[in-house]
Each structure stands twice: as C-alpha cells, then as structure tokens.
Symmetry: C2
Amino acid sequence: MRVLGVDPGLTRCGVGVVEGTPGAPLTLVHVGVIRSDADLPQAERLLKVEQGIEQVLNEFAPEAVAVERVFAQHNVSTVIGTAQAAGVAMVCAARRGLPVGLHTPSEAKAAITGSGRADKAQVTLMVTRLLRLATAPKPADAADALALAICHVWRGGAQARLAAAHRAAQARAGQTRGGRR
Amino acid sequence: MRVLGVDPGLTRCGVGVVEGTPGAPLTLVHVGVIRSDADLPQAERLLKVEQGIEQVLNEFAPEAVAVERVFAQHNVSTVIGTAQAAGVAMVCAARRGLPVGLHTPSEAKAAITGSGRADKAQVTLMVTRLLRLATAPKPADAADALALAICHVWRGGAQARLAAAHRAAQARAGQTRGGRR
C-alpha cells in the first residue's frame, strides 16, 4: 500500500510518500515540503499547495492520502490557513477517488512512538528507524508527513483486518443459518 | 463588474452573483446554495463544494470572487469545515486567475446596512432592496453571499477610485518635478 501523508500548512506543507503493509518493512518513496511566500495573497498560497499536492499525486500515484486532522483548538493565529491547506489536500484526493484518512497528531505520534505526547526529536528518530534510513529524513519539516503516512498504513491495515474478520464472521453466521434451513 | 459572493459552509454554502458598479443600480445574476450531506466523508463534502463553485464560475463567468473571511474565534464546532469550504472557493478562483476579496461578516453587513451588527432580517431586507427584487432572494441562506458580492462591488469600486486618485496624484507630482528640471 502506497500512502501520501500531508502535514498541512501555508508556509510549509510537508508531504511524504511511504510504501508498506502492516507487519512488513516500510519504504520511503518521497519526502518534500511545499512552500509559499507569506507575502502572497492567501488564495495564491492555497493554489501553490494544490499544485504541489497534484505534482506528488501525479508523480508517485499513492493509493490513499492521510491528512492531519485540524482542530479549532490549534494555534489560533495559523489554524485557518492550516485547515484550508488540509482541505485543499483532501479535495485533491477526493477528485481522484482516493480514500482520505484523517489522523490527529497524537494518533500519528502514538502509532509510531507508542506515545501520543512524543516530541519532535522522538518522532523524527522513529520515522528514520521505521523507514530504515541512514540519516533523518530531509527536510526535517516533513517528518510529520511521513509519520502520518506510516500511521495510515498501520491503522489502515488494522481496519482492513477488522473488516475482513467481520465479513468472515458474517459469512460463517450465514452458513450456519443456511445449514439450519 | 460581475462578482461571485461565497458564504462558505459544508452543510450549506451560499453562492450569489451580482452585477454592478459603485453608484449605479445592482443586478442579481444568480443565487443558490451548494449542499452536502453530513453523512458523507469530509473530503467528499469539500469536493461537492468545489464542483458547485466550478459550475457557477463556468456558467456565470464572474470577474472577481468575494469570500467571507473566516476567523478562529467563529463557532468552534463548525469553523474548520467553514474555513476549508472558504479555502476551496479561493483556490477555484485563483486557478482561473480571478482576484479574490476577503470580507468579514461585519464588513459586509456594514457595507449594505450601515451597521456591522445588523441582524439577518436587516441584511436580507437590504439585499432585496439593493437588488431591486420584488421578494426576498431565495434560498434565504444565500442572502449573505449576495451581501458579500455587493460589499465587494462597492469596496472594489472605492479601492479602484483610491488607486486612481493615488496614480493621478503621483502623475501630478511627477509633472511638477519635471517642470522644475
């Protein structure tokens, strides 16, 4: 499963593409940051985010997109821009029919470090380790995007296994009912 | 000048197109509401907003887009979705090279009623009057979108006159300096 993780923002929007399945080693496909100048009008900045996301989708063809879930309680001065950048990434995915997963920062941290309150250094360390990189991924800003992608691979896997178990259970129940007829 | 006003939202996104110039009567071109089902995933809802905005832009070809400026202090339970819908409208405009104006709800209210704290009934009444409609615009939800469009026509006009006056003053100053050479 190839997943694009997006750490949304106007000044820096982290993008990371990871390939993997739960229980197997993960591979780094791409990591980068989409930047936009603070002097540009907000609409132009959001357009730059869209163009950057489109480029990554075109080039690396992920099967799913994981975006950070933005809360109103976030840093008040930047939350609107962050939410809008996240919305743009979500629309880019939806336009292509790609499934979108929203994960909170704590969910992503907990998935890869075991703690929802891990600091930036710990997240970067685990991203480096899990992707079997010789050095920390560069740019450093994009480690959160990779963490979101890894979180999605693992949670997606767990969700897929639950769904499969549920279908299997339903099928067994169906057979039992069938046998009683 | 033809302006599309967007009152952003996920459940209901108001769109209103107005034609006019400052000091001349205004004309209603189009009014509508883009709706999306609360049961849909957020990415799908934002895609519906994008499709609705694109349809209006294609059909009515406005020269500018006025979007409500969203603040983090807005209703906390809906602010993220509202900000994202606004962001999607802004990107749709920027993609076509259309100028985007952001106006706060108070600015729009003050522009058309004289008071930034006017209530919904007052805004609807003034929109109806200014657009010379026999009855209030329907759907009622879209009155705010029309108010934003009218605000933009008027503020845009004022800004354009200021810019023209500024250019004229600079030209006069240039002539004076030239005359002294």
